[in-house]
Amino acid sequence: MNENREHAFLDLATGFILGNLDELEERRFLEHVEAGCSTCEEMLANADAVRLGLAHATPPAQPSAQLKQRVLEAVAAAGPPARALPKPARTNTAQRWAMAAVLILAVGLGWYGWTQRQRGDRLQNDLAALQQRLEETQRFSDAEIAQRDLQLELVRDPNAGCYEFAPQPDAPAGLGGKVLFNPATRRAVIALDNATLPANRDYELWRIEDGVPVSLGVLPRDAEGAVVLHVADAGNPAAFAVSEELAGGSSGGTPRTVVLVAAVGG
C-alpha cells in the first residue's frame, strides 16, 4: 500500500469511527480493512471505546415514563426483525460474468421504475462531484483543455446517466468509480479512484453488448491511481466493466480478471 492510498483510508477510518461515512464509503472502508490493512484495523480497535466515551461524556437523561410503552407498541406494530443477510461468497470468473448478466437483467427490468425516481437526486450529486473533480485540475495543454471541454459538456448533458461501478470479488480494496454515459451520443466519461497497480499491470475498460465484452482500451492512470477517461464512442452497452490485465491490455480479446462492473440503467 502506498502512502497516498493509506492516507486516503485513514480519513475514511476517522470518518468511520465518528460515524460520518455514507453507506458506500463505509462499505469501501470495511472491505479495505477486511483485505488486511493492519493500520486501519488498529485504529478500529479503539472505535467502540471512543464512541462510547463520547457518549458517556454527555450527561445521561431520564426518559419519560411513557417512552418505553411507546417503543414497545411501535415495535409490536413493526412486526418481527428482518433476518440477517449472509455475507456473499467468493465466485469464479464465469460465475461472476453470469451474476453480472443477471444483475443487469434485474436492474433493467425490476428496478427500472425505482431507479428513475432515485436518478434525479443521485445524478445531481454525482454530476456535481464529477464536475468538481474535473474542474480541480489546474494545468492542461490545449489538447487536454479540449478533452476537458468535451467531458464537462457530457457532465452537463441532461440525457447522460451516471452509473456506479460495483466492485467484484477480486477488486482491490478501495478501487471504485463511476461512468457517465449518454446513449444518444454514445459518449462516456470514466472516473476511477485508487486504481493503483504494479508497473506490469494495467486496467482495461470493456463494454458489454449482448453478453459479449468488447475492449474500449487500457485505462490511463496517474501516480495516485486516479483515472479520468473520455470515450468518444462507447457503443450501446448494457454494462461497462473494468478488468485487471498484464501491461498493455488483454491479448486474447477477453477480460482476464474482472474487478468492476457498472450496469447501464442500474
Partner: protein, 185 residues
C-alpha cells in the same frame, strides 16, 4: 455473566423477535442514548422522538448487528446519534433548535454531579477528554455531535482542511489510548 455477554444474549433474543431482549437493553441504555440525542437536538421532546425511532430501527435491523465491529452498547449509541442527527437536519432551521433548551454542559472530571453519581467510568472519560488539546477535542466533538465532515468542520472553524484532519487523527489516537477497552456500561 459480563454486561457485554448479557447484552449479546439480549440482542439474540431481539433478533428472534422476543421483546424481552429489547426491554432489557432499553432499561440499560436508554438514558445513555437519550443523553446523546439531547446533546444533539437540545430538546427533550425531540430527543425522545429520536430515541424512539432509534429503538424501532434497532429492532428491525438487529439481524445486521456485527459483533466483530462493535459492542451492543456502541451499536445502540451510534443508532441513536444517527437518528438524532437525521431529526436535527429535518428541522426547518438551526434557529428553531437553538431557541429551545440550552445544550447540556459537557462533563468534566471535577464536576460535583459526577462525583455524586459515583460513576468512575464517566470520570475516566472526562479526564481523557480533558487531556486532549482543546482544538483536537473541539473538532472531534463537532464531528461526532454535529455530524460534520472534515471539510465542513474546516469551513466552520476557518481552519485548513489538512489541519482539521490532523487534529481529528491525533485526538482520536490519544483518546483511544486513554479510554478503557474493557467493560462499558
Amino acid at each position: 455473566m459480563s454486561t457485554q455477554d448479557a447484552d449479546r444474549a439480549a440482542l439474540r433474543r431481539m433478533q428472534s423477535g422476543d421483546t424481552s431482549g429489547l426491554e432489557e437493553l432499553y432499561d440499560r441504555y436508554t438514558s445513555l442514548m437519550l443523553g446523546v440525542s439531547r446533546r444533539i437536538l437540545r430538546s427533550d421532546d425531540d430527543a425522545e422522538e429520536a430515541v424512539q425511532e432509534a429503538w424501532i430501527y434497532a429492532w428491525k435491523r438487529s439481524g445486521r448487528f456485527d459483533a466483530q465491529r462493535s459492542s451492543v452498547a456502541g451499536w445502540l449509541v451510534m443508532i441513536a446519534r444517527s437518528r438524532a442527527l437525521d431529526r436535527y437536519r429535518s428541522l426547518t432551521s438551526r434557529r428553531r433548535v437553538e431557541d429551545q433548551a440550552p445544550p447540556p454542559e459537557p462533563s468534566h472530571g471535577d464536576d460535583p454531579a459526577h462525583e455524586l453519581h459515583g460513576d468512575q467510568l464517566r470520570q475516566h472519560v472526562a479526564r481523557a477528554l480533558d487531556s486532549l488539546d482543546a482544538n483536537h477535542r473541539r473538532v472531534i466533538e463537532t464531528a461526532f455531535f454535529d455530524g460534520l465532515s472534515h471539510s465542513e468542520i474546516a469551513t466552520r472553524f476557518e481552519t485548513p482542511l489538512g489541519t482539521v484532519k490532523y487534529w481529528i487523527r491525533q485526538g482520536l489516537k490519544r483518546l483511544g489510548d486513554q479510554l478503557p477497552q474493557e467493560e462499558w456500561r
